[in-house]
Point group: none
Chain length 221, copies 4
C-alpha cells in the first residue's frame, strides 16, 4: 500500500499538482496550435506559471510534449487490466477493448489531437518511456486475439499482429478524421460496426457452410 503513493509522484518531484496543471495546459495548447506553433509562453500563461517554472518540471518543450500521454495512458491501461478478467469470451473482450480505445479518444479530444496530429509523426516519441506504456496497452489486443484463437472463437489462420494493426489503424483513422473534420460525431457508436466487420466480414452470404444432407430413404414395409 505504501508503494502506491510514490507511484503517482514518481516522475515529477516538487509540486505534482503544478506539474499536472502544466501538462494539462500543454495538452490544451498543443492540441490547438500544434507543436511548433505553440510557444512555451502560451503554455505558461495557460498554466498560470512562469515559463521558467515549466523548465523546473520539464527539461524541454519536446519532453513536455512527450510527457502528455503518460498519466492518461497509464490509467487507461490499469483500468483495462482491471476489467478484462471479468469479461467472458475473447470476442466480448475484443469488443470491450475497441470500445475503450474509442472512448479514450472521445473523452479526451485534446489528447486525441496531440496524439494523432503531433506525437504520431514524431520519431523521437518512439524512444520515450511513455511509448512503452502505449506498447504495453497494445499487447492487450494480442492477448485477447490469441485467446480467441485458442478458444476457437477466432479463425486459427489469422495473424494477431495484422488484426491489431487493422483495429488500431481503423480507430486512429477515425479519431484523426474526427480531430480534423469533426466528422464521425460519435466514436464509441462505431464500436459495434468495427467489431462486427472485423468479426464477420463484409461478405454477403454470411458463412452458410454447405449443409450435407444424407437422405436415407427407406420404405417401411
Amino acid at each position: 500500500m505504501a508503494n502506491k503513493a510514490p507511484k503517482s509522484s514518481q516522475k515529477n518531484l516538487k509540486n505534482p499538482k503544478k506539474a499536472a496543471a502544466i501538462l494539462k495546459a500543454a495538452e490544451h495548447i498543443f492540441a490547438r496550435k500544434g507543436f511548433q506553433t505553440a510557444t512555451i509562453s502560451d503554455i505558461a500563461k495557460k498554466a498560470k506559471v512562469s515559463e521558467a517554472t515549466i523548465y523546473e518540471y520539464f527539461s524541454s518543450k519536446e519532453e513536455l510534449l512527450f510527457a502528455i500521454p503518460g498519466e492518461i495512458i497509464q490509467h487507461y491501461q490499469e483500468k483495462n487490466r482491471e476489467i478484462l478478467p471479468y469479461i467472458h469470451g475473447a470476442a466480448n473482450k475484443l469488443r470491450f477493448l475497441i470500445h475503450r480505445h474509442l472512448a479514450l479518444y472521445e473523452d479526451n479530444p485534446d489528447y486525441a489531437n496531440v496524439v494523432m496530429l503531433i506525437l504520431k509523426g514524431n520519431p523521437n516519441f518512439l524512444k520515450t518511456e511513455a511509448y512503452r506504456v502505449v506498447q504495453s496497452s497494445a499487447q492487450n489486443y494480442i492477448q485477447v486475439l490469441e485467446e480467441g484463437i485458442e478458444s476457437n472463437e477466432f479463425r486459427p489462420d489469422m495473424d494477431p499482429y495484422v488484426i491489431r494493426a487493422m483495429i488500431w489503424g481503423s480507430i486512429e483513422h477515425l479519431v484523426t478524421r474526427k480531430s480534423l473534420l469533426g466528422k464521425p460525431a460519435s466514436l464509441t457508436d462505431l464500436t459495434e460496426t468495427l467489431f462486427n466487420t472485423l468479426f464477420i466480414g463484409i461478405r454477403a452470404t454470411p458463412e452458410q457452410p454447405p449443409v450435407h444432407i444424407n437422405v436415407h430413404m427407406s420404405r417401411s414395409e
Copy 2:
C-alpha cells in the same frame, strides 16, 4: 485541347523540370528531417538551385510541402481509373485497390514518410488542392463497395464509409509503422490478409458436422 497546355504548366510555369527537381529534393529532405527541421537551404542544396529560385516556383515552404503529393497521386489515380473497369467483381476490385494503395507507399518510401509523418498532422493540408485529389482517390473505395452491395457480393447492411475508414486506417497504420520502425518488410504482401479479414472476418467457422437427416418415407396405407 486548351486544357492540355495548362496541364504541363499547370501550377508551375517556367522550367517544369526544375520544379520537379525541387519537389523531389523537398520530398527527400522532408522525409528525412521533418518539416520544421528541414530548411529551404537544405532543399536548395539538394536540388542544386538557389533558395530564391525555390520561391520562384513555390510561394512558401508549406506550399512546397503541399505540392509534393500532387503529381504522384494524380498518376496513381489515373492508373486506377484506367484499370478498374477491366476487373470483374467488386471483391476483385477491392483487392486491387488495396494492393495499389499499399504499393503506392511501398514504391515511394520518401513519399510515404512525408504523407504519414508530416502531411497527415497538418490541418492546413485539408484546404489544399492536392487534398482534393486524395479525396477523389478515396472515392474509388466507396464506389467499389457500393457496387459490391448492389451486386450482392457485400453485405447490404455495411457502411461503405466505415469500411473505407478501416481500410485506409489499416493501410496507413502499416505504412507508418514501416516508415518509423521498418517493420512490415513488405507491405504489398499483406494485401491478401487485409482483404480476407475484411471480407470474411475473423470469426472461426466452427466445423459444421454433416447433418444426417433420415427421411423415412412411409406410405400411409
Copy 3:
C-alpha cells in the same frame, strides 16, 4: 583588542567556515569555468550548500568573485610586512618580493586562474575593497625601490612606478602563460632571472665605465 572580534566576523557574519567553504568552491569553479560559464548552482554543489545559502553570505555572484582574493592577499601581505624588516639591502628585499609574488601564484593555481583570467579584466574589481589590499601590497615594491635609490643600490634616475609595472607585468605575464599553457613549469625558479635582468640589464659589457687615464710624462733629469 576591539579590532580582534571584527577580524573573524569581518565580512561574513554567521558561520565563517561555511563562508570559507563557499569561497573555496567558488575559486575552484571560477578557475575552471570562467565567470560567466560558472553557475551559482555549480558552486553550491561544490560547496555542498544550497544556492540560497550562498546569497546569505554573498550578495551577488560578482561579489562572491571579488571576495576570493581577500583572505589570501591579506595573509600574503601580512607575511610580507612581517619578514621584510629582517632582510637587509633593497636588492635583497626586491628579490624577496619577486619570489613571494611568484610563489603566491605558484602555490595557488586556482587563485592564479581567477585573478589572471577573470578579475584582471573586470573593471568593477577596481572599486573593490579587495583591490585596496592588492594596491597596498603593490606599495611594497615602491618602498623597496625608493629605499634602494636612497641607499645608492639602485639608479637614482629610475622611475619606481615603471619598474614596479615591469615587475608586475613580467610576473603576471608568466603566471598567465602558466595558467593557460602550463608552460613555465616552475614560476619561482624564475626569481633569479627576473631579478638579475632587472638589476643588471641585458647589455653585454656590464657597465665598465670608461677609464680615464692621465698620463704625465716627465723626464727625470
Copy 4:
C-alpha cells in the same frame, strides 16, 4: 600580383567593407561593455546592419570577438617585418619593437581594451587563427634578442624567452592600466625607460672616479 587582392578578401566573402564595419563596431562595443554585456543587437545598431547580417559574416558572437585582432595584427606585423631590416643593431631593433608595441595599443585604444580585458582571459582564443599571428609577432622579439647575443650586444647568458616575457608583460601591464585607469598618459613615451631598464638594469653604477695614472718615464742613463 593577382594574388594580392584575394589576400585581403580571403576570409570574409561577400561585402568586405561590411565585414570591416561590423568588426569595427564590435571592437567599439566590446571595448566599452565587455563580452558578455555587449549584445549582438548593440553591435548591429552600431554597424548599421541587421543582427542577422552579422551572422552572415561571423558564425557566432565569440567568433566575431576573435576576428577583431586579425586585420590589425596582420598589418602591424607586416610593417614590422618591412622596417626591421633597415634598423642596425639589435639594441636599436629592440627599442623599435618596444615602441611599435606600445604604439599599437596607444593608437588603438578600443583594440587595447578588447585584447587586454577580454581576449587575454579567454582560453579559447589560443586555438584561434588570429592567435597564430600574435605568436608570429612575438617571434620578432626572440629573433632580435638572439641576434643581439650573437652580435655581442646582449649578455650571452640571458634567456630570450624570459626577456620577451618581461617585455610583453611590462607592456601589457601598462596598457591594461591605461585601459582601466587611464593612468600612463602616454604609452610610447615609456619606450626609452623600458628599453633602458631592460638594457642596463637598475643597479646603480657607483661613480667610478677617473683613474689617474702617473707614468713616469725615465731614461735610464
